[in-house]
């Protein structure tokens, strides 16, 4: 399913996704994409990295923020990794949360896809269930196509 130009997704059962454009960093330029996906309802009012959403996660829920950076960032060391990440349970760490919440855990990856620079920030509802949550996130990412 094409959500916006250059971003397609096959949405697995139980997920919802919302895509918006960030305010352009340079006047006249199209804003970069900001994609949120979650297994809980995504509210209108929410932060770029999930504030307003992650507090609603249950133990089996997950939230993702796929944040696109300006094209110039592709050349930087931070984005040398190419392709969407394959999350592993060991990637998740409660200390990776922007604002720690009891039981929750987060992980972050920087990478380049289709010549575009991205950050993926993932939050899982329970660090103890990171095995199944990582699989859930991987299943979603396998359905994402960026051009």
């Amino acid at each position: 399913m094409r959500l916006v130009a250059g971003f397609d997704i096959d949405l697995p059962a139980g997920w919802q996704v919302a895509v918006r454009r960030q305010p352009p960093s340079v006047p006249g330029r199209t804003g970069n994409l900001l994609v949120h996906a979650a297994t809980v309802p995504i509210p209108r009012e929410r932060g770029d990295f999930g504030s307003g959403v992650v507090s609603a996660l249950g133990p089996d829920d997950v939230f993702l923020s796929l944040f696109e950076y300006d094209h110039e960032a592709v050349a930087t060391t931070l984005f040398t990794s190419t392709g969407l990440p394959v999350p592993r349970p060991s990637d998740f760490d409660p200390a990776a949360m922007q604002r720690p919440l009891p039981g929750q855990s987060g992980a972050q990856w920087f990478f380049t896809v289709a010549g575009r620079a991205w950050c993926l920030f993932a939050v899982i509802g329970s660090h103890g269930r990171r095995q199944s949550s990582a699989v859930k996130i991987d299943r979603l990412l396998k359905g994402v196509r960026i051009r």
Binding site: L3, L11, A13, G14, V17, A18, R44
Partner: protein, 231 residues
Amino acid sequence: MTAAVVALGAAVLLLSVLVAGLLRSHAEILKALHELGAGLELDKTGPVPVTIEGITAPRRQPVAGVPAVVSGSTLDGDVVALSLQGQDTLIAFLSSGCTTCQEFWKAFRGRPSLPPGARLLVVTRGLDEESESALREREPASVPLLLSDEAWDAFEVPGSPYFAYVDAAGQLVGEGSGGSWPQVLDLLTQARADAALRTKGSGPVRESRDEQALADAGIDAKHPSLYGETA
């Protein structure tokens, strides 16, 4: 005598003209109704759809055409896609302008009661056919609002208000219209219960399944075990 025959002939002629006129008038009325789409489509196979006010059993058998995902946009311009599997979803197809819909917009402003485990989603037409300012006035705070012509087309929504109940397996278990939220809720509860019975098997479904199970076990209608005798 001749006068009587002539009078009778004239009466018969007059009656014939009247009957012909009535038949022609009937034919014109039927033709007009057919053009308006109100005629019975007897040339088609399968059941003739009947419109009633209330949640009815799904029109589509099997549940073809019900999408696994609904997508559209929000009033803020976000593009949203939502899986209809994994949780029961009640989709309320509303318009900002329809009179009956106002009752539902009002009911959704608070926290509307829902069947256990179900979520509510309001879907309107896109902004080509909707008023953004009217939608912003009516948009419920706690219920997601999606603008999606695609969803209206996929669910073959005949008009608003219209409701579709999709269960966690992505099956359409009830759809139809109603005049008030309590009425819709009541009818939906009934549709869910009916769907549960259909799934479990009842009446002819269960009968057929049981007969098949007996046949598989080599037990037919004349099997002695059915008559208290040992096989």
